[in-house]
């Protein structure tokens, strides 16, 4: 069936088969939605490959990959709202932790009121007092 997979900044409409807490995608769909694909080396995305432990059951006969098993391998949480056919793969706590512990301020891109996008890294070379506030 058609459903939406949200992974990092990507929201993709894909053909996928939900079966309880598993979500099976054809390799092309998985790659389109998440950038990940299964190779002999393991689960790979760009330059990174993560070995798949034996018995992890990421793929089944026919080649379909279980997104939930992949997410578990990556220590990422998965949540889904079936009334809207949306599955969302969140960030891994350990990745966030490691990024912060490096003390390199995580970069981001956000718009101002006029719609102009600013990146934190635009301001390298200046001291930045980053302050989060809210109207609420």
């Amino acid at each position: 069936m058609q459903l939406t997979v949200v992974y990092d900044d990507t929201q993709a409409q894909v053909e996928a088969t939900p079966e309880g807490e598993r979500l099976w995608l054809a390799p092309a769909e998985l790659r389109a939605a998440t950038g990940w694909e299964l190779k002999p080396e393991g689960a790979c995305r760009d330059d990174v490959c993560v070995p798949v432990p034996p018995g992890a059951q990421l793929a089944r006969a026919g080649g379909a990959v279980d997104l939930v098993a992949l997410a578990a391998l990556l220590s990422r949480p998965v949540v889904h709202e079936d009334t809207e056919h949306v599955w969302l793969v969140g960030e891994a706590a350990e990745e966030r932790r490691a990024a912060l512990e490096s003390l390199e301020a995580p970069d981001f891109a956000l718009p101002d009121l006029s719609g102009t996008v600013h990146r934190l890294s635009d301001y390298r070379g200046r001291k930045v007092f980053l302050v989060a506030w809210a109207s609420w």
Binding site: A92, H118, L120, R126, L130, A132, S135
Partner: protein
Amino acid sequence: MPLAIALDTRGAEAAGPWIERANAAYPCLIDREHLVARLYGMVNVPTAVWIDETGRIVRGPETAGTSDAWREMDPATYHVPAQARDELRTVRAIYLDALRDWARNGPASVHVRSQREVRDRLPRLTEAAARADACFRLGLVLQQRGRADAAQRWFQEARRLHPDSWSIARQAWDLEEPGKAGGPEFFAAVRALGERTYYSPIDMDGMPR
């Protein structure tokens, strides 16, 4: 240079009037998905991080120049008694002085922390909090699709998983009904803290309490 981030899912509609009134000389950005909160492990506002010229965190994340003195506020009138107002003013003045000291003296400022001190004070990013963030984000997707009730279910789950996150709780209330984030439920939740703090106290010389 200040870089202000509005953790406002209702975007320009909610944050715009404040930004325009401030008429700031520095960038004021709109963060509808609370991305910066996720990246830096923030759970409340205002929260600040000091980042040096090389892009390194030298202090924070920490409460940005305020304290729990605001809890003396009358929930009906939003009036803060004079003594509490004085304390808030003092806290802010000390914090701004520290900022100016850093602006002038850079790494020589006493307020700049060592790498070890920054690391020791980083927020604990737990698996539960990561799952809470995923629930919150799913709620945002549903909110965008007009599924407000379904969104609130996921916000509730996010709050259950990460009860310390005031930004999740208050944004969820704000989406349910503008103003609710400062209404009776909010004040009840703050009272329920008892002796626990709403804002983590700022660890800086001269701060009251």
